[in-house]
């Protein structure tokens, strides 16, 4: 009986470790996706701002260290959008806004799916924890009865 409990305890501990690693991995992916969402939101705000500007509007380009270089807006209705693999394409501002919106929607969906997975894994971890606690209390009760 004790051997069986030991084996069960080992199995549950191992399962918990694997589940915890999985939860950490999911959390790390959620953080990554959230960072990209924040970046896309930032770019959407920038595009909204650019939309209101006219040709030759004076801009400040960030050059790091909270410093800026002065520039002028040459084509207010066109921006360059990255399409992956180090390639960027010139798009009309409206089109760029739609691309950002679509990317944001896709990422929001991905984040929701990941959050759902995370909740499921945490639920499994909690169930495992309850089983371990039950096993410990059963083992204690068994030992106490043997001592009587």
């Amino acid at each position: 009986m004790a051997e069986k409990s030991d084996e069960e305890f080992r199995r549950l501990s191992l399962e918990s470790r694997i589940l915890e690693q999985r939860a950490e991995a999911i959390q790390s992916r959620i953080n990554m996706v959230s960072a990209v969402i924040a970046d896309l939101n930032y770019s959407s705000v920038t595009l909204e701002g650019l939309e209101k500007e006219r040709e030759n509007a004076e801009l400040l380009i960030p050059i790091g260290g909270e410093s800026y270089a002065k520039a002028r807006l040459v084509t207010p209705d066109k921006v360059i959008v990255g399409i992956g693999a180090g390639v960027s394409v010139e798009k009309r501002l409206q089109e760029a806004k739609e691309i950002m919106k679509k990317r944001l929607e896709d990422l929001e969906r991905t984040r929701a799916a990941l959050q759902q997975q995370f909740v499921q894994v945490v639920d499994m971890i909690n169930k495992n924890r309850e089983s371990v606690e039950r096993l410990i209390s059963e083992t204690r009760e068994g030992k106490a009865q043997q001592n009587v």
């Binding site: 399409i83 992956g84 693999a85 390639v87 960027s88 394409v89």
Partner: protein, 123 residues
């Protein structure tokens, strides 16, 4: 744990060490595979986007911290070339993975044979 291992016969210890080394190799191969697959996916997505564009589209290619103006045909050709190269790399990595997995399986079954008398209950 290390004390437990030191009580095993030297041949088994050596086999265990080899097993661990192979596991590490497999991890490294899998990381490389993931990297190549990720780059391939990005290239395929970029190629699909490029296909939607007209020949006159304004395209920039990132080189280090610079973005250099280029042409659709040129960028498409470059991406296809890179895709082909990565495809070959993926095949090589796949073969490496298969070889290491086979070796791991063999060594695992030998280790199970080595260790089974120890774990059997005493009569």
């Amino acid at each position: 744990m290390s004390e437990d291992i030191s009580q095993l016969p030297p041949q088994v210890q050596e086999r265990l060490l080899r097993f661990q080394q192979l596991q590490q190799s497999l991890q490294s191969i899998m990381a490389q595979k993931q990297q190549v697959e990720l780059e391939l996916t990005q290239i395929e997505q970029a190629l699909a986007e490029l296909q939607k564009l007209g020949e006159e589209a304004v395209i920039y290619k990132t080189t280090g911290s610079l973005m250099i103006k280029s042409e659709k045909g040129k960028v498409t050709a470059e991406l296809n070339e890179r895709k082909e190269l990565l495809g070959t790399r993926a095949t090589v990595i796949g073969k490496q993975e298969e070889r290491v997995r086979t070796q791991l399986k063999e060594i695992q079954s030998k280790l199970q044979q080595d260790l089974s008398p120890v774990s059997q209950p005493q009569p």
